[in-house]
Every structure is written in structure tokens, then in C-alpha cells.
């Protein structure tokens, strides 16, 4: 089962280098799953990310399980989840004692400051790459801007934004796009 092994290794890599929260995983997933291995298309990753936000639990783990399932069903989900969780597990087991004693040192601080700076750019680049597949017309642009507005100004919860966007998208899609595709009353 070659692909299961590859799935495991890929998510192991992703899990080992996801610093700074679940979103930092997105550029890694894009590069490995979409561009390198071509397992899932970018647009589909976005759908899975949306789903991952609605489920309780760490988004990093959720997203991995969703993507693993999409690629290879139950066993894929298992391989991806195991892969993404294992690096942390091993590191904590082996290093936790040391980290607690010596973790508060300058070297690590500097390393992490550098890493966090790069994570910002990586996430920005991910956004730019996702723009074209996701914002395909003026409606989607309006939805994106409205979501941004609601999230920043009104501080709504991401799930609310996702549900709202889905509902708006559904209405717009049914009203304007399906009709057009069917050439008349949908």
C-alpha cells in the first residue's frame, strides 16, 4: 500500500514543521498535497479546511483527517492523522524534560522569532495562491469582503462566517448561476 505510506510520511513532515498554530499548516499542505503529490486540488483543500473549522478540536488534526479521508478513505484518514500527530508525540516524550529546564533560553527564542516571521509570509503566499480558484466572480468577492468585514469589525466566530457564507453562496448560486447554466428557470 504505497500510497498509505506516502500519506503517512507526507503528513509526518507537515506535522513536524507546523509551528505557530493550525493555519501555518496550510502552506505546507498546499506544497506537499497539491503541488508535489497532486493528490487534491487547491479548491478542494479549501473546502476541507472549511469543514475542519466547524469540527471541534485542533484544526491541524481535523484538516489532516479530512484530507486523508479524501485521498484514501478510512485508512487514508488514519495514516494522515497518525502522521501529523506523531512528530509532536515523539518530540514531547523525548524532549519535554529538557525543554522545561533549558527551554527558556535565547537561542530558541531567536529561532522562533525567525520562524514566526516566515510563517506570516507563507500564509500570505497561500492566500494569494487561493485567490484565483476561490474568488471567481463579483459575488464571491463580495462574500469574501463581507466576511472579512464581519470578522474584523464585529468579531464574529469563524463558524458563523462559514455558515453565513455558505447560505449566501447557496442563495446566489441557485438564483443566478444555476439558472444561467440551465438556460432558463433552473
Amino acid at each position: 500500500m504505497r500510497i498509505l505510506w506516502e500519506l503517512f510520511i507526507t503528513f509526518f513532515k507537515i506535522g513536524a514543521f507546523t509551528f505557530g498554530g493550525g493555519y501555518a499548516m496550510i502552506p505546507l499542505i498546499q506544497t506537499e498535497v497539491c503541488y508535489n503529490k497532486n493528490w487534491v486540488k487547491e479548491e478542494d483543500i479549501v473546502d476541507l479546511l472549511a469543514l475542519a473549522q466547524t469540527v471541534p478540536g485542533a484544526i491541524a488534526v481535523n484538516a489532516s483527517t479530512f484530507i486523508g479521508y479524501r485521498i484514501f478513505g478510512f485508512r487514508g484518514a488514519l495514516a494522515a492523522t497518525l502522521g501529523v500527530v506523531l512528530p509532536s508525540f515523539l518530540i514531547i516524550l523525548s524532549l519535554a524534560g529538557l525543554l522545561i529546564k533549558y527551554g527558556d533560553n535565547q537561542l530558541l527564542e531567536k529561532m522562533f522569532t525567525g520562524i514566526r516571521a516566515v510563517v506570516v509570509s507563507l500564509i500570505m503566499a497561500a492566500v494569494i495562491k487561493l485567490y484565483r480558484p476561490c474568488i471567481i466572480d463579483h459575488w464571491t468577492l463580495i462574500i469574501a469582503v463581507a466576511a472579512l468585514f464581519a470578522l474584523i469589525i464585529f468579531n464574529i466566530h469563524p463558524i458563523i462566517a462559514i455558515i453565513g457564507g455558505g447560505a449566501a453562496g447557496y442563495v446566489i448560486y441557485m438564483k443566478y448561476i444555476v439558472n444561467y447554466e440551465c438556460g432558463g428557470k433552473g
Binding site: G57, I59, L93, G114, T140, I143, A161, G164, Y170
Partner: protein, 156 residues
Amino acid sequence: MIPLIQKEIEVNNWLTAQQFIDIIAVAETTPGPIAVNSATFVGFKVAGFYGSLVSTIGVVFPTFIIVLLLSKAVNKFNSHPVMRGLLYGIRPVVVSLILLAAIFVGKTVLISATGFMGLDWISILIAGAAFIGVYKFKLHPILLIVLAAISGVILY
């Protein structure tokens, strides 16, 4: 998730307050989600290797099941027009969410109380270089992360 973990630890008397603070700090510097890292560590403290195994599986398991069920449900309706309509609207929202995440991390990283004009120019430099690296030269994120760690040590 951290308040939940704290509550459980208090109730069961697994860690002292200081140990808890330590592990949160560690969990933030090791890769992977804080939730999983904390669970692994608490498990280890309480019951050694098997403890860490059990608590890690425990923290991941419910999510795993929910995701499986949701995936099956979603797959069944994938080409249904209702689904496509929902996704049509959800995708732009997710783009905004990710953009916000970038802005949020950016704010904490690039702004500095002690920097010139209130900005952390070294971070901006590293971030700028990384952006060019990933966008123009299509470098692998992992490579950039390693380079970033090294740059951080050299430049700071």
C-alpha cells in the same frame, strides 16, 4: 482548549500550577497543536509512556470519529447542486479567514515596542525574503522554515 485542560488537571490533581505553565510554554514551542502536545505531556507526567499514549489517542479520537462521519456525509452529496452552492459561498469566506490569520500573526511578529518606528525590521526583512522565496522562487516551506530559524539566530 487550554481552559478545559486546566480544569481537568485541577480536578484530578495531575500537575502543579507551575508544571502546567511550563507545559503550555513547551507545547507552544514544539511543532503541532497545543492541545495534542499538552495531552501528551500530561499523560506522560501522570502515567509514563502509556499515559502519554492514552491521552494523545484520547484527545484525537472524538475528532477523528466526527470527521469520518462528516466526510462520509459530505462525499455522498458532493455533486449535488446544494453542495456546490454552499461551497461556492464557503470558499471566499475561508480565503478571508486565512488572510485574517496572516494579519493576526503578522501583527504579533512585525510590530515591536522597541523597534524603530514601532516595527521589528529584522522580522520584516526575514518575512520579505521568505515571501520572495516562496512566491517567486517557489522554495519549499520547510526549507524556508529552517532558514528562518538560522536567520533568527544570526540576525537577532
